[in-house]
């Protein structure tokens, strides 16, 4: 095992850094897209069910199938990393839209009324009151989306783009468990690391959830 790692450090490192990019760019894109969509679903409640239902249908599509459907829809090459990034963005947005909407809906109406009475206009109330209160719910969703992304990326190796998945494919081709084990361990560690980072960010951003026991 140690022999394998020491003689393949460049390969492993490249696979790992590719993995990080492929998994986390979609998370960033999903945050950008899901906040306005989730807000629309709350502001215009008629949109809530169509958006949530569409999300759950998109979420149901198996990853390998979605990776391979995207070239047919937007005309990318099958081996383009864009397919993976777009597919993972779709999954993450599908998950996050609902979480953002539910988070915003969970804000106690008396709180928003109090903010309005204090002179908060809609935009300032959204950013100053509603979003911070919804943050724990939204970050819980972000954790799920991030961890899921990190593990799904490797499926992309079947198309030739997959970060650590390349190590799995290599292990399969050589009938050799070492690269597979290294890939699994690194992937799980990356997922755990991202998860912990989000938890720390949440502690930092929502100190009131820890004071006095109740949010």
């Amino acid at each position: 095992m140690i022999d394998y790692i020491s003689s393949n450090t460049t390969v492993i490192w490249r696979a790992f850094s590719e993995h990080v990019l492929l998994a986390l760019i979609p998370v960033a894109l999903a945050i950008i897209f899901s906040l306005p969509l989730g807000y629309l679903a709350v502001r215009y409640s008629k949109l809530y069910y169509p958006l949530v239902n569409l999300s759950s249908i998109l979420y149901a599509i198996p990853s390998l199938a979605l990776f391979l459907l995207i070239p047919a829809i937007i005309g990318t090459s099958v081996i383009s990393p864009l397919n993976i990034i777009i597919a993972l963005t779709i999954y993450s947005v599908a998950l996050m839209v609902r979480v953002v909407a539910d988070g915003l809906n969970s804000v106690d109406p008396s709180v928003t009324q109090a903010a309005t009475a204090m002179g908060y206009r809609r935009v300032r109330r959204l950013f100053g009151v509603e979003l911070p209160i919804a943050l724990p719910v939204m970050l819980a969703g972000l954790r799920v989306a991030t961890v899921a992304n990190v593990s799904i990326v490797s499926v992309g190796a079947l198309l030739g783009v997959g970060g650590l998945g390349a190590l799995f494919v290599r292990g399969q081709q050589l009938d050799y468990a070492e690269p597979v084990i290294v890939g699994i361990v690194l992937s799980v560690m990356l997922a755990a690391f991202c998860d912990i980072v989000i938890v720390l960010v949440q502690r930092r951003l929502t100190p009131w959830t820890r004071v006095g026991g109740r949010a």
């Binding site: 979605l66 391979l68 190796a157 799995f168 468990a177």
Partner: protein
């Protein structure tokens, strides 16, 4: 003459040809249901035990997240390189991925029950097993079923990936299509497996409505108090990705 796309070519639907589309789909369904049955047989009782007694709850709480972080392709390839390819290691890998969502949501379902309901059942003289089957399971059913639903998606998706190590099922079309550079075969497989997953997900949602008691889901109460109850739906912690 224009070539007929793979998906609509009648030859591929002919039951006499080897690896025709209906038989690949049946294989896929077979793996999915076999895995779910084994997974549920393990995860539901364990989840009920943990939820009912409150012992070992850290296992149930962390199972969901741990399961989600396991790379599916890596797990399948690892088991196959260690054991060799046959149905058994692949089904083991699929079961390992199906257990966490079911376990976590079964546990969460039992924990979410208002203790007053259990106390009331006790007060009425119900025995522990009667409480479990008459009160706790029916009330936890929405979450137990949504765990099964997440597991279904996870398994359909992973069974597709498992074609890479040699499993039959619709994933064959994707994997073989990539290897042969036949994109229409790939596309046929991707469309069929996406449809299969969506149909299974919608049927699971239907089943959820059918099986959950109206008193629990809140449907029975809507006439008298439209705003008093919100149906229990899947929380994000049980969501599992494809």
């Amino acid at each position: 003459m224009e070539e007929i796309p793979f998906l609509f070519d009648p030859v591929n639907w002919d039951l006499a040809t080897s690896r025709n589309l209906p038989s690949l789909m049946l294989d896929h369904l077979f793996y999915t249901f076999l895995t779910l049955a084994i997974g549920a047989l393990i995860a539901v009782p364990v989840g009920l035990y943990i939820g009912h007694t409150g012992r070992f709850s850290f296992i149930a709480i962390n199972a969901g997240n741990a399961g989600r972080s396991l790379p599916t392709l890596g797990l399948i390839i690892l088991l196959v390189t260690l054991i060799g390819f046959s149905l058994v290691p692949v089904i083991i890998a699929l079961v390992i991925l199906a257990i966490p969502p079911i376990l976590t949501s079964t546990y969460a379902g039992l924990r979410a029950i208002n203790p007053a309901s259990v106390d009331a059942a006790k007060g009425m003289g119900m025995k522990p097993l009667q409480i479990l089957f008459g009160v706790e399971i029916p009330m936890a059913l929405p979450l137990i079923l949504s765990g099964l639903r997440s597991a279904t998606l996870q398994v359909v998706s992973t069974a597709t990936v498992a074609s890479y190590v040699g499993l039959s099922g619709l994933g064959r079309l994707l994997v073989d299509g990539i290897a042969l550079n036949q994109y229409d075969r790939v596309l046929a497989g991707a469309i069929l497996v996406a449809l299969l997953a969506i149909v299974l997900d919608l049927s699971a949602a239907g089943l959820q409505r059918l099986l959950v008691s109206p008193g629990v889901s809140g449907r029975a109460l809507t006439r008298t108090s439209p705003k008093s109850t919100t149906p229990i739906t899947a929380d994000t912690t049980t969501a599992s990705a494809g």
